[in-house]
Amino acid sequence: MIDKVRQLVVDLLDSGRADAVLALANVHANVQPYLYKKGDSLDSLALWPKYSMGPILKSIQAAQPDMKLAVVARGCDDRALVELAKRGQIDLNNVQIIGLACTADEATECECANPYPANIDVGNKVDGVASTDLLAELKGKSYDDRLIFWKQAFDKCIKCYGCRNACPLCICEECILEDDSWVKAGEIPPPFPIFHLIRAYHLSDKCVECGECQNSCPMDIPLTSLYALIRNEFNELFDYIPGAEIDRKSPLVTSLEEDPIREETA
């Protein structure tokens, strides 16, 4: 698999179809994001563990908007790029996507239901993770028990903002969570449930299922499960998967005629 990615990267760079390719590299015995340019050795190329490519691509485009970029993108990266483009954060016209399907093991580790990009260049489509024990358990809980579950989970929160920082779709220039009038500043754990509910609402039409919020949580809070529930609910209401269709606006900004609420029509 990795050889095929290597070949695609070399082709893009050598042919001049891309000025640089954003991928991962193994350096100092660790895996990191890396911007490959023509002539770079691709021996270091790596695929896993994944890093979120969207925000890095955004920072590169901001520094040099006319650069012809390519990016090795997994399903979640692919959806993040679409969603970022839709929201004016990046310009996909200048970007070529090398679509990489995740392996079954990788999908399991991420608890990912859709472990493949829209167009697969490398790898084979495998089934996603439909549900987990925790998701089933949470669905079965009463409201009071759920509240206790999340209260206990978020009692560990040290307000690192890692979930927000790592999220490819947290794109507000001024973050309401840092505004003392909304979330009292300087408190650990941050006030419950406002901090986490506001974030959940903001991500309800944006979450692309990358799991980076949980991956970056130093307190092991099961955010992937929280957002899996939210994505399902959003989809049930609006038949909408963030990052799936570049031409479709978020139902939260359209009228009822354009995008009706599903429960009603059913």
């Binding site: 999340w150 309401i176 419950f192 449930p193 506001i198 959940a200 609402y201 209401l237 609420i261």
Partner: protein, 146 residues
């Protein structure tokens, strides 16, 4: 837990053009209503950010109502379309986090519906009395030793 004598603290966001006028009519018509409601007037129900509702519930409000113009009557054409969608997902989010979505109530009250205003308020107060005080209240303010 017995809810005898429990008087819920409730917040209502009413749009300027319809439901606030409806509330006004209820008042002028001297319709009797429980006094648990604090009303905030907004220009459109579409102006009510879900963050406001989250803030109110997180701050210990027992319930929040959002009242706007009927679909099709919005002064800003489709402001209340957005309200409807946002509050549909917000209700789901509350439930996911463990806050009973029945603490949130969205409805449409026109300027001529003073009686409907009275009716939805009475019903909402009863509903929250039934649910009891918000569990969030226990998580607010000065923490007490366990």
């Amino acid at each position: 837990m017995s809810n005898n004598g429990f008087q819920p603290k409730l917040l209502a966001f009413c749009c300027n053009w319809c439901s606030y006028a409806g509330a006004d009519l209820a008042g002028v018509s001297r319709l009797q209503m429980p006094h648990n409601l604090r009303v905030i007037r907004v220009m459109c129900s579409g102006r009510v950010s879900p963050e406001w509702v989250i803030k109110a519930l997180s701050s210990g409000m027992d319930g929040v109502m959002v009242l706007g113009c009927h679909i099709g009557d919005c002064h800003y054409i489709d402001g209340n379309h957005r309200t409807k969608k946002r509050f549909a997902i917000l209700a789901k989010l509350l439930g996911t986090m463990g806050i009973n979505p029945n603490r949130l109530y969205l409805d449409w009250v026109s300027a001529s519906e003073g009686v409907k205003f009275q009716d939805v308020v009475i019903k909402f107060v009863d509903r929250i009395k039934e649910l009891g005080p918000t569990p969030i209240g226990a998580y607010q303010g000065v923490k007490v030793d366990r």
